[in-house]
Assembly symmetry: C2
Homo-oligomer: 220 residues x 2
């Protein structure tokens, strides 16, 4: 499973465990400006009993093109009530989920796993193309042809997206019911001294989720 | 385009150029025991006039599972006449082409490219699942849904596999006709002091290709 240390993927880890899986969690040091999320991923993996947690080093700065990996592109800040619009924002990282899923696919093959969990949602998200169900479905079809384990019939890949139809508030409620401590998670794209900025897309979506769920965010 | 510095991808670079493309070549430092191939990639990119050549650092040792990335797994050695068999060998790297293509897809998006070239062949190869046409086709379908550029109609991804139906000998003949200097390339999986071992799968396929083409290998 892919674990960023944010609200969504932390909830997914709890769901995978409650689905009866041993969880092998993978995070990435990819040149993100919010590398502090990796510490959150470590805390969450321990908190929710992941069997193993690996951090892979991959340099997405090699091609840039995103506010998250290129110091020259600023992360947009909003006021709390701002309309986030329907355009894909500059925090989009080219092909990020494609790359992350590919590492998960490789690791899955090595540990004889056929199930990959990812915390994408097509609701209350930033419009990223690689969070849509049609992308996930196409990735799964590709992945079923990609590996030695698949060809030899040992890996019938299933990509699980338990949050795909959930609002942020529903995700939070699901996670709370499963005992997730959201105080351990980190969502902000552009932290100031390790603390959430409160104004980036990710902070806004998170704040609205907690407000709608009627719960205080324990990370604030 | 993906450039390993080997015989196949070097030929593909020449073909992409002769197809009229500016070539942006990407190589990977992925913990491979034959990292010497990166020097070959650099030479070949310069020799064949790539517009740019980038080497991305990605740690595939994070999951291991291959003789190419795990020191504990030996690269098999063969006698020249050995039957290489039909089993996928231990030099297979889990999901390697999936990962490499994902980086190429990301870089393509950043530079506004829609065409990716890769030197896979379904003939005279090692049986790797991610070299088969059905894999490439599925990857292309996935890639067309994966990026912001695709969703916005600016990137209709085409994955070119000009070697897919060529024998190794035919690839060599094609490359020679395009002026490729194979003396600059490197194929060996397990070089000894930077020189080809002459006995791994890759050396054997290369030697048989040159023999069948009736040409001496200028790298020997």
């Amino acid at each position: 499973m892919l674990l960023s240390g944010g609200l969504d993927s932390s909830t997914v880890l709890a769901i995978a465990r409650s689905d009866g899986f041993e969880a092998y969690a993978m995070s990435f040091r990819y040149g993100q400006r919010h590398e502090v999320e990796l510490a959150a991923a470590r805390r969450v993996a321990a908190h929710l009993g992941a069997a193993e947690h690996r951090i892979a080093d991959i340099d997405l700065r090699a091609f840039g093109g995103s506010a998250l990996t290129d110091e020259a592109i600023r992360v947009p800040r909003h006021a709390p009530g701002d309309d986030l619009g329907t355009q894909i924002p500059v925090t989009y990282v080219p092909a990020r989920n494609t790359i992350f899923l590919s590492f998960a696919l490789a690791w899955a093959e090595v540990i004889d796993a056929a199930d990959i969990y990812i915390g994408v949602s097509a609701i209350d998200y930033s419009g990223y193309p690689d969070c849509r169900p049609e992308f996930i479905e196409a990735y799964q079809s590709m992945g079923r042809l990609a590996t030695k384990a698949a060809v030899e019939g040992r890996q019938k890949l299933t990509i699980h997206t338990p949050l795909i139809d959930l609002t942020k508030a529903q995700t939070i409620q699901r996670g709370l019911a499963l005992g997730v401590d959201y105080g351990l998670t980190h969502s902000c794209y552009d932290p100031v001294d390790g603390r959430p900025c409160g104004a980036c897309d990710s902070c806004l979506l998170r704040a609205r989720g907690f407000a709608e769920a009627g719960v205080a965010d324990p990370a604030l």
